[in-house]
Symmetry: C4
Subunit: 187 residues, 4 copies
């Protein structure tokens, strides 16, 4: 993710659901391109750290929000690319992606003819309040895809396992880069 | 191809014609930046897999369409870049490339003064139908170059061997990137 | 820094404050992507080289200006990216960055709701005169962030230590890239 | 040069003047990111190969034109970037670069306040005729810098030695990238 410019500074974080139900997540304050061996810690489904002396990523609440809602979610990624940041700052409450072959990377979309509507949420340092808004967006649109944008901040995607989440993140970032290019062209 | 961003997610695929006429092609569902040893399989000229338990790339029919039509084609590449995706979504039925030194990478074009007209085809999950349209485009323009675009999807190129196909893909992607840059500039 | 295109040609330089108060800084005329073992030298707080036969970076005076003013500064970086160069050529006396999650990388900004105003200074080969203008900008805006731009030239950032300065440079370059993208879009 | 996208397909070439006055230059038809041990050959100042069975780069005549005219030139580079290609297609007979700190990489320009005027020549597969036009441009502007553009094709730069030529190419490509960015912004 670092080599593609998706985790600048200490931004971005990564989590997986362990077989026993605990969540392994990157710790706060590390550069995600250089994660040390002890840069990952475990929390419960409500984001409470098992080792009280370690601090999980500030956005652990958003990862846990995903795992609580979607029992089949096994891995979640938060990236922070230039296209996601710029587009989310310009967008309204949703970004619609249509007509891309790579939409096949999203579930329930057997063909490129479908479209996905990604919720775009206002950024908020109060993670519980932000997660409440995410849940609201999920409730409002039952066809929501496994991903959303936070304005000026980045993208969240999830899948059954880490390879699936990485493919989905790569497909999503590719389509966002295309959208940004297309918006740039004079009409 | 991965390091240049041409094979995001599971997109893109690669094939070569073997000396005995069979086609070796990447299997479905792998990330092409990390092809495992068993990530390649063989099919016949009609795309039928030799090992019935393996699934070839969904677009095997397009590779075989190339090998059936052009006896001299020895390698075919399908890439999936941001410029190819954005340009193909904006273009009409053809993209014309003219005045580039790199046009020399295409056959029958001894100088940069020539031009190539790349067909742009509507994307279709029905590969047989898509290949029928490709064949139609070849029939309609006898001067068609060894390459075409699929709208919102990517580019196909072929050549006598793999180094030749890679050079051609690199030249084509370079010129598409230039075209996208030029279209961006205010007129 | 080189792999991100931030130190083209001999541009860019790097310094740290040593425990005894001396400043270690890259020497003049080296490519900063390939710094040899003897490519770093030490100067005093006024930029005077300890080894009279070595020539420090031309901009040593700007590094020392930072260390003299900010006792807590332990590392300073000068980068030279395309976005910083283009934006600084277009900007007035300040560039304001607001609404970015990555603003958290700057001190005294607990949330993304704050904004930073980066001074933009006219380039000058007379480094003493340029440093005088930097000092003037610091005096004029007590809320100045730990960074500034020089027009057509690049960016300076500093922090308590080198990892902190690198994170800050990466966050700043990310936000400048977003700003440039946003300005490009037709309004 | 390859990792920066400056030598797509078989484009780009590299030469140095040997101590005995011969010119070592990359051979025709190789990808310059993967030069084999025997990918370099020697020619005399008029471009005649010493080994009659090897074919030098098609543009050997341009390299020799530089070495014949500038006795102090020790290395010459021909790159082929997207910004150089796009800008040269849009430009008139010259591209002027002004106000960049990196102009210091060019000789006789002690400060960033100077400007350089790069000749832009029409592309031509007749290399002798193209070199004649280059010579004409040099005669017409005694203040010409050690570099020029060929329309739709790329850039040539030279310097006393290879490290100097690489620095100059990097500085020039950086400034061309900045120019292209600046032209993109809506006015």
């Amino acid at each position: 993710m670092d080599s593609r410019g998706w985790v600048p500074a200490t931004a971005g974080n990564i989590s997986v659901r362990l077989p026993d139900g605990r969540i392994a997540i990157t710790r706060s304050g590390f550069h995600k391109g250089f994660i040390p061996e002890d840069g990952v810690m475990t929390v419960d489904l409500d984001g409470r750290p098992e080792q009280s002396n370690l601090r999980p990523s500030a956005e652990t609440g958003l990862h846990c929000g995903i795992y609580r809602r979607f029992p089949q979610a096994g891995a979640a990624l938060h990236g922070h690319s230039v296209p996601a940041t710029v587009l989310s700052r310009l967008a309204g409450p949703q970004v619609t992606l249509a007509g891309y072959e790579l939409l096949k990377a999203f579930p329930g979309l057997p063909t490129h003819e479908a479209a996905i509507r990604l919720p775009v949420l206002e950024n908020d340092q109060d993670i519980a309040r932000l997660q409440a808004r995410v849940t609201e967006a999920w409730d409002a649109d039952p066809a929501h895809p496994p991903g959303y944008l936070i304005r000026g901040h980045g993208v969240y995607v999830w899948a059954e396992d880490m390879p699936g989440a990485l493919l989905r993140l790569e497909a999503l970032e590719f389509m966002l880069a295309c959208e940004l290019e297309a918006r740039r062209l004079p009409r």
